[in-house]
């Protein structure tokens, strides 16, 4: 009896439990509204269905949120990711549009490589402002958030650049191994970031810097380098998201690409259980958070919720998720249940799962 209860408490006490519950509830609500919601079918060797759509559409957000997780773990924040996505998408589209053959794979790869290189420079700019000069992250990245939009406008000369390039389009809407290519990219980047942080000591060092900067300095951590690095990684993730967003619509609009994605990304990170003050970060939580946000957005459209109330609806759900996430809020309810659950065991499990 007591072990069963302990095990149950171990499950409900898991960091990912409540975000997953919210996700399931959202999916269930959709299914009630439209019973075919959960069905996935194979057509022409490609998987189709609402679930697949949600995964595909959440791919850019997942990418941005992964980078954001690392930045937030150091105690910083990166507001410039939306603008970086716009700049990189615009540069890639501009380069492709000037090619004689827009469908040439080489041309597309060059475009992506150039734009990716620019993203690294933009990330380095943020990193220098924050780690080198010591400007507060919210201000430092606000600079590029504003300036980046202007830069994207300059690149596109204020126009919307439309391209007609099959290889580039693949990034957004193509398929590979029956799955949308965007999902595969998101998975691959997740894997890279997870390996980068958990197979090296980077993750632990980031958490040490975010958890206690002074103690880390006195332990010999070169925290400036680490801080610099996370902003570069964040910009790189944003760039890939930018390719995806522009490829989705085969055009680059400097004003619209990645607009407000930084806010969704911050939200995804927080829902995933990473604290805004820095320290421990949870990539798996971030991904669940991003999925919740995208499911919510999709549901609002799918359920034909009045556009005038859609944003409010979204806000209410977000508040609910944040409250459920908050240990202090949950503790009020948990106190009525069996007390004295040793917290050490579930905490350990969480950590092990992070690389996945």
């Amino acid at each position: 009896m007591s072990t069963a209860r302990t095990r149950l408490a171990g499950v409900t006490g898991h960091r990912l439990f409540w975000p997953l519950v919210v996700l399931v509830v959202l999916l269930a609500a959709n299914t009630v509204y439209r019973p075919s919601f959960l069905s996935v079918e194979l057509k022409n060797g490609h998987l189709y269905g609402s679930l697949i759509d949600i995964l595909r559409l959440s791919a850019p957000l997942i990418l941005v949120a992964l980078g954001m997780s690392l930045v937030i773990a150091t105690g910083g924040i990166d507001l410039s990711v939306g603008s970086v996505a716009a700049v990189c998408g615009a540069i890639a589209c501009l380069y492709i549009s000037e090619q004689p053959d827009q469908n040439s794979l080489g041309g597309v790869l060059t475009a992506v490589a150039i734009a990716f290189g620019i993203a690294l420079l933009l990330g380095a700019w943020n990193g220098i402002l924050v780690a080198g000069i010591g400007i507060q992250p919210i201000i430092a990245t606000l600079i590029l958030m504003v300036a980046g939009r202007g830069l994207a406008q300059l690149v596109t000369s204020g126009q919307i650049i439309t391209i007609n390039s099959e290889p580039y389009k693949t990034i957004g809407v193509g398929h590979l191994l029956t799955l949308p290519f965007a999902i595969i990219i998101a998975l691959a980047v997740t894997l890279v970031v997870a390996l980068l942080t958990r197979r090296t000591a980077l993750g632990m060092i980031i958490e040490a810097v975010g958890g206690n900067a002074e103690a880390s300095r006195l332990a010999g951590v070169r925290s400036r380098r680490i801080t610099f690095l996370v902003y570069v990684v964040s910009a790189a993730c944003a760039a890939v998201a930018g390719f995806m967003m522009t490829a989705n619509v085969s055009s680059a609009d400097g004003n619209a690409v990645g607009l407000w994605v930084e806010l969704d990304a911050i939200l995804a990170v927080v829902i995933g259980g990473t604290s805004l003050v820095g320290g421990r970060f949870y990539l798996s939580g971030t991904i669940v958070g991003a999925l919740i946000i995208q499911t919510l957005t999709t549901s609002v459209y799918a359920m034909n919720i009045d556009p005038q109330t859609a944003l409010l609806f979204k806000a209410v759900v977000v508040i609910a998720v944040c409250l459920i996430q908050a240990p202090a809020f949950r503790a009020r309810f948990r106190r009525r249940q069996a007390p004295g659950v040793p917290p050490a065991a579930p905490v350990e499990k969480q950590k092990e799962q992070v690389p996945a």
């Binding site: 000591a201 632990m204 010999g220 951590v221 421990r280 905490v347």
Partner: protein
Amino acid sequence: MSQRHPVLTMTAISKIFPGVRALNGVDFRLFPGEVHALMGENGAGKSTLIKVLTGVYSTDAGTITLDGQQVSFAGPMQATAAGVSTVYQEVNLLPNLSVAENIFIGREPRRLGSVNWREMRRRAKELLARIDLHIDVTELLGSYSLAVQQMVAIARAVDVNARVLILDEPTSSLDADEVAQLMRIMRQLRDDGIAIVFVTHFLDQVYGIADRITVLRNGRLVGEYPTAELPQIALVEKMIGKELDALERLDSETDRDRAAIAAGEPFVAADGLGRTGSVAPFSLTIHAGEVVGLAGLLGSGRTEVARLFFGADRADQGRLAVDGAPATIRNPVAAIDRGVAFCSENRRTEGLVGELSVRENIILAMQAARGWLRPVPRRKQDELVERYIKALSIRPANPDMPVRNLSGGNQQKVLLARWLITEPRLLILDEPTRGIDIGAKTEIQRLVAQLSDGGMAVLFISAELEEVLRLSHKVVVMRDRRLVAQLDNDDTLDADRVMRAIASGAEQEGLEKV
């Protein structure tokens, strides 16, 4: 003075925090027109007494009378209104407001409901003129030196008709001229009939200005003495306590051949090393296998010396040599590269990362030295962490528990383990035994002895003389931010001699050239 009535009397004050009796039946009297020094080491109860007096804490027992009336303040605001003002060590004014605004914030002179700026400036100028401070009151407070800010804080405090002025370590970040200026103001206020409670760690200042001294130790009143009748050595004894004489030394620790240790080339040698505003230039050598004890009162500059050796602060004077070759240690990374390790006295803020596990905290320094691209292999982590959990008997022996859930003593051991696995050549321990239980304390002392036997140099900082004497080959005495004596720990050295050095600022015999 004694025939007059005290302005303030605190009788049999007790204050209990969970698990600690911070004050235990303490009496305190304050007469108008005196400077009264409140003295005591860490944990003696000085700040608790002040907080009880100013209403920050409530008392658990005892009474406070102000001008013969029994009072009990619900907070600092009430205390200020009743004439008890406090100026804290950290100036708690607003550097982003003007001097005049700072003086009158919350009680701005008004006219027709709006602030009368001209009147405010005039009165601020007048008030500062009273203490001979002539500055532009429209300038931002933050543009002035700390000393001026301190004086503005005092001006503000006395302007609210203060009869009791509490100065909590007002001089700790001031230079000599600024201290002199502050002292002059204190004398002037005293002559105006204000009673001043002066909390400081600087003995010279106490003997320069205080009329009487009250000493606290471990939450108890040791006594109240006229300054003229209390020699410095007696004051130090009363602050530190005498019971240590009865304690035996550890078996063999200090019996090793000091001459042999000192004969070799020193591992580190500081020559005139110093940092303005932190510690006066000092020279000190530490040999391999040598334990150097740093003694001195709280705030005497012990930690500052350690931080210079570790590069936690950057020295702005003097030279440092490692293994006989000149070395510049600009930051902790450089120090760690040369085999220096530093366990800070502030475990929570400067030592551990509370959120991370015991394992992660232990390998942090080793990992940082290797760089993030070369993680310590998991098997090696397990082996090291397991070995040190066992060797230092860290409890609970769970490497994956967040370190903040451990007790103070165990946290200290985790911090020690972090540095021990890097196999340092010089281990700096700042108050490694403070706030931990007696068992853990002995373990750590034994460990220090073992490490130095094995050839490690140790710089051991402790407020407890007994501990310093037990472990050290050489005792270095700090006082008022300068190194005042280096004493060989031979058979003739005892707590009395060290205390005399702390009290007098110099010791003839055994004093090496500083």
